[in-house]
Symmetry: C2
Subunit: 354 residues, 2 copies
């Protein structure tokens, strides 16, 4: 394979070894069809002999694309973004791009910093999660005419093109589902809403449906938990909620992680799901279907969203400046085992309301 690397091996070294000019070497990479086959072969040989590797930085300087796309996520360490990232990465990779990744820990200042840094690297495109971004971030993107896309939340009025699902509707569907099972004593388990338009939209959707229920939804403040994406913390707070008397007969969770934690919390205190308490999530993360009991949830197709987003952004980068597109991916209620009808009165620990 490669030779000693004592000398730096650049396009000049290759040219010299192949006894051609550097222009010809360059062409052999960028327009191989313009070379005489014999020349191409000579160059290939020299490249292999020297172990030459092209320098994209030098190419980038010519206004040629850098071949990188930036993906900025709240956190890498979360099932839902993992699935998204994987699909996104694969999809842009097939178009020849590499991806730069940065987590910002739900901090919009850090998100801005990440965008800036990526622009310094001259990424060809940038993908952000959701629509909650600082004004500075939006302006930076605007003024730099770097293609950008927002992933995960569909919003017909988004400032950036977006590929995502309707999180409000997801909240509505989840609420609808528990109502249809007859529940009225419903606990809410959501992540912190600020700076997180996905969670906010779900919450609003759920509340709007619940509040116009005439059967009388009980909005008990004790039954409304705000919990971070952490199984253990969520378990703790859900446990204490389930210890109230009476306790809610159903838990509507802002995402599947919280729902899974809720199920564990219920199990740990000896309650059966859904016999004693029904639990519904939003997301349909990897594993939600296979757990026991399997989790009833509103499916948001993370893989599909990631794939489409990647494809779309790549097109924006490569293709003509198309008009701004917004893609709304279908969501669907997955009826599984964790939701069931309201427990009979006798089953409850003490009396139930009305």
């Amino acid at each position: 394979m490669s030779d000693k690397q004592g000398e730096k091996v650049d396009i000049f070294a290759v040219a010299k070894a192949a006894k051609v000019s550097i222009s010809t070497v360059s062409r052999s990479f960028n327009h191989p069809e313009k070379l005489k086959p014999a020349t191409r072969k000579k160059i290939d040989k020299a490249v292999r002999k020297l172990g030459y590797i092209r320098n994209r930085a030098a190419q980038t300087m010519h206004g040629i694309r850098s071949g990188t796309i930036g993906l900025i996520v709240p956190t890498i360490d979360h099932a839902i973004f993992s699935e998204l990232m994987q699909a996104f990465a694969k999809s842009v990779e097939t178009q020849g791009f590499s991806i730069l990744v940065a987590p910002h820990d739900y901090d919009l200042e850090r998100e801005y910093a990440a965008v800036r840094k990526f622009l310094e690297h001259r990424v060809d495109g940038i993908a952000l999660i959701g629509q909650d971004h600082s004004e500075a971030t939006y302006q930076l993107l605007d003024s730099n005419n770097t293609p950008a896309i927002s992933i995960w939340n569909y919003d017909a009025t988004s400032r950036l093109p977006c590929v995502g699902a309707d999180n409000r509707k997801a909240g509505e569907m989840a609420a609808q589902c528990v109502l249809e099972y007859g529940h009225r004593d419903i606990g809410l388990v959501f992540p912190p809403l600020s700076g997180n338009d996905r969670a906010s939209a779900r919450f609003e959707g759920a509340m709007s449906v619940l509040q116009k229920t005439d059967g009388g939804f009980t909005a008990n403040p004790d039954w409304h938990i705000q919990s971070p994406y952490s199984l253990s913390e969520t378990k703790r707070s859900v446990s204490s909620m389930l210890k109230t008397t009476p306790r809610p007969t159903a838990l509507l969770c802002g995402n599947d992680v919280l729902a899974v934690a809720s199920i564990y919390a219920a199990h740990a205190m000896g309650l059966q799901v859904p016999r004693d308490v029904s639990i519904i999530g939003i997301g349909d993360f990897r594993g939600s279907e296979d757990m026991h009991p399997s989790l009833t949830t509103v499916r948001l197709p993370a893989g599909e969203i990631g794939h489409l987003a990647g494809q779309h952004l790549a097109e924006m980068v490569i293709g003509e400046p198309t008009d701004m597109a917004r893609i709304n991916c279908d969501i669907s209620l997955k009826h599984r085992q964790s939701c069931g009808p309201v427990p009979r009165k006798a089953d409850q620990p003490k009396q139930k309301k009305i």
Copy 2:
């Protein structure tokens, strides 16, 4: 903030706007202390007015570091690598690097391709998972004197510096644990071993301990499953293993995903864990501790490994060429609920215990 972007805004534009030379502008970024405060202020103003963003590609061409580090993982979409990636990303980020990520789907050819691509981008360092890589990959790394590190598996004879845990020992500890609970009828649930030195090492470790058990470990071929990282498939095959008569009294799983799937499989067929069957994993993924029953497992500190690896690689990039280091992170057995003593004989097929 920024002005109209009609004209390209480069260092010349800034220089002109600030009425200084480009050298001065460049210095204001790289050696600000060498500028007269007044000049610095003028330049800052021009930068802000024009919305200038430095071009790292141009810097990189000067042999200056690109400020990127490549991380190549088997898959992004897997809890264990997520945690690792997050820690790694944060750790190199504090040193000012951005990270390029590529998944290779357990395909060493694709891993090679990813390394090549990253080298074209002139990454300052490369991190790979484990020690199983193609010869071509190793040679490429060698000849390019780009700092590289191998993460996740500690191996005293590794070709690259490594930061990881002793996977063989993890296998031994898991085996030791189930033996100490008295189990002899032990089922094995592992991922495919080829091209995966982590899983192979665990398997070998486990087998070596089991085979020198004099109580008589039963190596039943029906009780040895090879299953991909998929809850549903694993559930299926574990279910059928648990239907054999007699069935194993304990399941030793190559990682926590498989262990969790095994627990779900057991639950789904009405078995209790650990009353009817004990289950142990390896990894201690996020969630393993909080599930119900909590998973007994050998903890591999993914976060710590990722953090140390990032720190170490950054040092290799920035600092003097230090001698090759290998870091072995501690692992520990987490005794939790999913493992217990062997069920009394009477309990096995029908009868309930006590």
